[in-house]
């Protein structure tokens, strides 16, 4: 039997269908991989018993000819931001100590209904706030890729555990969430595919909220085809999320025709930022050439307000976070630290329960929403957000998709960029604009940094046009021929 953890999700689905192996065998191989890679700290909670139970149920369905679809029997990781019925959901925070939701998020329920097998809950930055997975109460996640210096590197964030679980062959796919780049940036840092769908494509119900107008769930996988398969299982209208789009879910995998001839691919000149690293610039240029060789036409486009996207994001996201995180008060779930009065109990609980980055963002959010400052910061940011969204609308009048780098650098060593919050925020410079505009984007491993670390290119699409994004991503993936494996798997980590 082939090494079951080396299969792609699509290959595993074929193998299950052909009867080459059972979901129980596939799942056991992945449980063993998870247990053997605990040094990467990719999981907050492992759920081998649940996994074996669901794998057995899948095999039973298959034996009766009642297969739910290509995800049936496929072992996945679930970011620990999705509420899972009866299973600890920590959001990477101390303040949710012991929280076992008595309900299942819509996206994880959709995956369950599709037959997917949950291996465990993946580590993440606390409340999804971070770009390096160094803010989790449950410890840092380690990138399975190393450069010649041998230093432990960050996996990116906030979906760092999900990205590492996929890259290190601990699962065939993982759910992530992306508020400012939290799927695409760790995808790029770990050499895997990360897809942020259009805002409204996947239900937010049951996902621990960070910034509700920006949060969106999506798949993280080793191939574009796998992302297409997994997204189809995750997506769909949900009456429990008022911003969930009431539209049908296409067969995303069918969009991968391999034919992008005649498509106009925008190359935004404002993304060529000052001091752009030479390897990122070369990667981007190479991506343009590859798409051109495949018959697409690169077109110069302008997104003039790009440089203001980060500052806009770091007003809007903390503002929404300060409101969303008001619910953690020590009364209904999670941590409680007693006090003599109600206010003191709140203050003690929240003082002890939140880590420094979360605290920083709640305070910024509280400040920009407070009386006297609301217009100067929050309202101003909402107006600039309108301009950023308008930039994309105009660009998409002339192009079918946009090609850009996913990150300004490759994965950096743990400890770097951590003294200055603003330096850390700059990681999201190429990913944040899409969230502000609600657009879909995919990060596809497309090359390497000077140090031999993976780098991703990002394809940005029109609202609800994930199909074009996936089709171009698939062509880019084939052209780039990225087939290197993390050093961790070669045993020289």
């Amino acid at each position: 039997m082939a090494n079951l953890t080396e299969l792609t999700l699509a290959q595993a689905a074929q193998g299950l269908a052909a009867g080459d192996f059972t979901s129980a065998e596939l799942t056991d191989a992945h449980i063993a991989a998870v247990e053997g890679a605990r040094d990467l700290n990719a999981f907050v909670t492992e759920t081998p018993d649940i996994a074996r139970e669901r794998a057995a149920a899948s095999d039973t369905r298959r034996s009766k000819g009642e297969v739910a679809g290509p995800m049936d029997g496929i072992p996945i990781a679930v970011k620990d931001l999705f509420c899972t019925d009866g299973v600890l959901t920590s959001a990477g925070s101390h303040i949710l100590d012991g929280f076992k939701p008595p309900y299942e998020s819509t996206v994880s329920q959709n995956l369950r209904d599709a037959g997917a097998v949950m291996l465990g809950k993946a580590n993440l930055d606390e409340f999804a706030m971070g770009s390096a997975n160094i803010t989790s109460y449950h410890g840092n996640v380690i990138n399975p890729w190393k450069a010649a210096d041998g230093k432990d590197r960050v996996p990116g964030g906030s979906s760092g555990g999900s990205a590492v679980a996929v890259a290190a062959r601990l699962c065939l796919g993982a759910t992530g969430t992306d508020t400012g780049g939290s799927i695409r940036q760790p995808g790029s840092f770990c050499g895997i595919v990360g897809l942020k769908p259009t805002y409204g494509r996947c239900s937010r119900w049951g996902i621990v909220a960070y910034a509700s107008s920006l949060d969106q769930a999506g798949p993280m996988t080793r191939t574009v085809q796998d992302a297409a398969i997994m997204l189809e299982a995750m997506a769909g209208h949900d009456a429990k999320d008022s911003t969930s789009a009431p539209i049908g879910v296409p067969n995303f995998a069918a969009a991968l025709s391999g034919d992008i001839r005649g498509l106009k691919i925008g190359v935004p000149r404002e993304y060529r930022v000052d001091g752009m690293a030479a390897d990122i610039e070369a990667l981007w240029q190479n991506g343009i050439e590859m798409l051109k060789d495949a018959g697409a036409e690169p077109v110069d486009v302008s997104l003039p307000h790009t440089k203001y996207a980060l500052a806009t994001y770091y007003i809007i996201a903390p503002a929404e976070a300060s409101s969303n995180l008001a619910r953690y008060d020590g009364v209904r779930y999670g941590l409680r630290v007693d006090g003599d009065s109600l206010d003191e109990m709140y203050e003690n609980t929240r003082g002890a329960g939140f880590g420094t980055e979360v605290r920083r963002r709640i305070l910024i959010g509280t400040y920009v929403l407070s009386a006297g400052y609301y217009d100067a910061y929050y309202l101003k940011a909402q107006k600039v957000r309108a301009l950023i969204a308008e930039d994309f609308r105009k660009a998409f009048q002339t192009v079918d998709a946009i090609l850009a780098p996913a990150t300004p650098s490759a994965a950096f060593p743990i400890g770097e960029n951590s003294d200055d919050p603003v330096a850390m925020y700059l990681n999201d410079v190429f990913t944040v604009p899409l969230n502000l505009a609600g657009l879909p984007g995919i990060s596809v491993p497309s090359g390497f940094s000077g140090e031999g670390l993976p780098l991703g290119l990002q394809i940005i699409g029109k609202p609800f046009d994930e199909e074009t994004v996936l089709r171009i991503g698939d062509v880019l993936e084939s052209s780039a021929g990225f087939d290197a494996k993390p050093s961790y798997l070669k045993g020289d980590a």
Binding site: G200, D329, S341, Y367, K383, A389
Partner: protein, 95 residues
């Protein structure tokens, strides 16, 4: 705009987060750095721009105002730190 120690103490109270006094100076400096950085938005002319709260191009749908869920007190209370007699508990509020 730079934030002083008192401002930070005040927003920490508004956010109900206890912050030890010795951390206030450092925090004031950090938050001032972030606020100073986001103030670059002042360069942008937004005179005739309408603010947006969401990019979702849709209006909220309506449903009948009826109870659609509920009736499971035990599940609701299952995660409470200190439930009593079928209720959440908090420190005494009224003397």
């Amino acid at each position: 705009m730079s934030l002083d120690k008192d401002t930070v103490r005040n927003i920490a109270f508004l956010a109900r987060i206890k912050i030890p006094d010795e951390e206030l100076d450092h925090l004031a400096q950090e938050l001032s750095g972030i606020i100073g950085w986001v103030e670059q938005l002042n360069e942008v002319d937004t005179e005739s721009v309408e603010p947006i709260t969401s990019v979702a191009d849709m209006s909220l749908y309506r449903r009948k105002d009826v109870v659609t869920d509920g009736g499971y007190q035990a599940r609701v209370l299952a995660n409470a730190p200190d439930p009593e007699a079928g209720c959440y508990t908090v420190p005494k509020v009224v003397e």
